[in-house]
Amino acid sequence: MRTLSQLALSDEGFVFDPNTGDSFQVSATGLFLLQALKDGRGDDEAAQLLTEKYEVTLEEARRDCADFRSRLRNLNLA
C-alpha cells in the first residue's frame, strides 16, 4: 500500500506515481475512490462513501470497488 499512499492526485484526474514516474488519467468517480483508498479506507467503507455522494446502489459500488482495486493491482499501484 506504500505506492497508493505516495500517489500525487490532481483535482482534474491526473495521477502521478513518484516511484516509477508513470502517470495516469482517472475518471471523477475513480478519483474519489482513489482518494478514499489512499486515505486508508477499506473497500466496504469506500463503497459506502460512493453511495453517499453518487446515485449508485451499495451492491454496484462494492462491485466497482473490487474491480477498481483489481485494476490498481494490474497497474502496480496496489
Binding site: 488519467q25 482517472v26 475518471s27 453517499e52 474491480d67
Partner: protein, 453 residues
Amino acid sequence: MKLAYEKPVINKLRSGLMNKFGWSPAYARKVRTNIDGVSIDDLVERYGSPLFVYSERTARQRYRQMYNAFSTRYPNVQFGWSYKTNYLQAVCALMHQEGAIAEVVSAMEYDKARALGMPGDQIIFNGPHKPYAALEKAVSEGAVINIDHLDEIVDLETIAKKLGRTVHVGMRLNLDAGIYPQWSRFGFNLESGQALDAVKRMASGGKLKLNGLHCHIGTFIMDPQAYAREVEKMVKFGYEIEDAFGFGMEYLDIGGGFPSQSRLKGVYLPPEVAIPNIDEYAETITTALSHALKPGDFPKLIIESGRALIDEAGYLVTTVVATKRLVDGTRAYVADAGVNLLFTAFWYKFNVELDREAGGVNETSVIYGPLCMNIDAIDEGIQLPPLKRGARLIFSPVGAYNNTQWLQFIEYRPNVVLVTTNGEVEVIREAEDLSDIQRRERLPKHLELLKKA
C-alpha cells in the same frame, strides 16, 4: 442532491504512442435507441435477448437501389436471391416479392424454395452437390441448372434420356479475374481449356443444350474491375462456343460477391470509404458488357447477390450478462450472444452501438459470447465506456449468413423479428426450446434413466 454515477476508470498515460485519432473521443460512442422507430427497450421486453431484428424497409430499399443500378444501364436484368445468404422464409419471400427468382445450392434449399411457392422454372440450381433425385426433380420442373463438374453432365444425360428430351443447361466457369485467391474449385476452368472440353463433351453427347454461362469470382469483391474482366471473358467464351457448336448463350450469370457495408477484419479504412458504391459496380459491369457483346445481342444478365441486399437490414440486440477484468487489465464483457449466433464474427468487425448514452472514459474492451470456448469473442479491442451488467449492445450489419450459419451449440437460438414497413413487429422465427433440440433424437429403451409413471 447526489451526483450522476459513472463507473470508476483509471488508465495509464503513454507518451510516444499517440495516434492521429486521439484517445477515447466521446463521438466514437455510438447510440441506437430504436430500429425503424421501434425502441430497443420494447423489442427486448416483448421478444427477449438476444434478438435478431430485420428492417423490411432497409431490405426493400437495398434491393431497389441495386436493381435500379443495373436495370437502368442494361435492358435484360434478373436477380436471383441467394438462399444460402439468408433462407428465413420471410426474407426469401420479401426478395421474391421484389422480383428476384431463387438461387439455391443444395437439395434442401431447392425444397425450401418450392415449399415457399416458387415454381421450378423460377429457380436457379447451383452448387457442387446436386443429388441425382434432386437434379431429376429440378430438371423435370424446369429449373435453371448450372453444371459444376463432369459427373453432373453424366447424371443430366441420364435424366435427359429418361425424360426423352433435350435438357437445357448452363455451365459454371472459373476464371482469372484478377482476384486473389482465385476461386477454382467450382465449375470448369476457362483458361486451361477445361471448360471447352466440357462443352465438347456435352455436344458429343447430344442430349444437353448449353444455353447459359455462370461464374462466381468470389466473395466481398471490392474491385469493380474484377467483374469487368469476368464478363469480358464470359462473353468471349460464349461467342466461341456458339461459333463452334451452335450453342447460343441466352443468359450470363455473373454470380454475386458484392460487398455490404460490413468491415472485413484487417481492412484499415471504414466501409463507407473502402467499399465502392453499387453504381460503380453496375457502371463497370454494363460498360464491359456493351463493349464485349455484339450489337443487338442482350442475353439475360443474372445477378445472384445476397450479402449486398440483406446485410444492412439485420441487427442483433444483445445484453451484457457479466463484466470482467482480464489478468492483463483489459476490460471484458460477457454478452448473451457470441459466435454461435454471429458466425461471421470470424471475418468481420461489426458496428457496435449502445442502446443509451453511457458516461465514463472509454477503455479498450473485449466482448465475449456465452460459449465455453476461447474462440467465442465477437470483438477484441473495441473502445467502450464502462458498462453495467444489463447494458445492451446492438451489432450490425448481421443480415447475411448469420441466420444460415448460426450454431445450435449449448444455447437456444433466439427469436427473429421483422420490423415491417408499417412499423409493426412480426416474429419470423420463434425462439427454440428443448423440444426443437431433441425432436429428432431417439433414446434406446435400455438407456432410459427415468421410470415413467
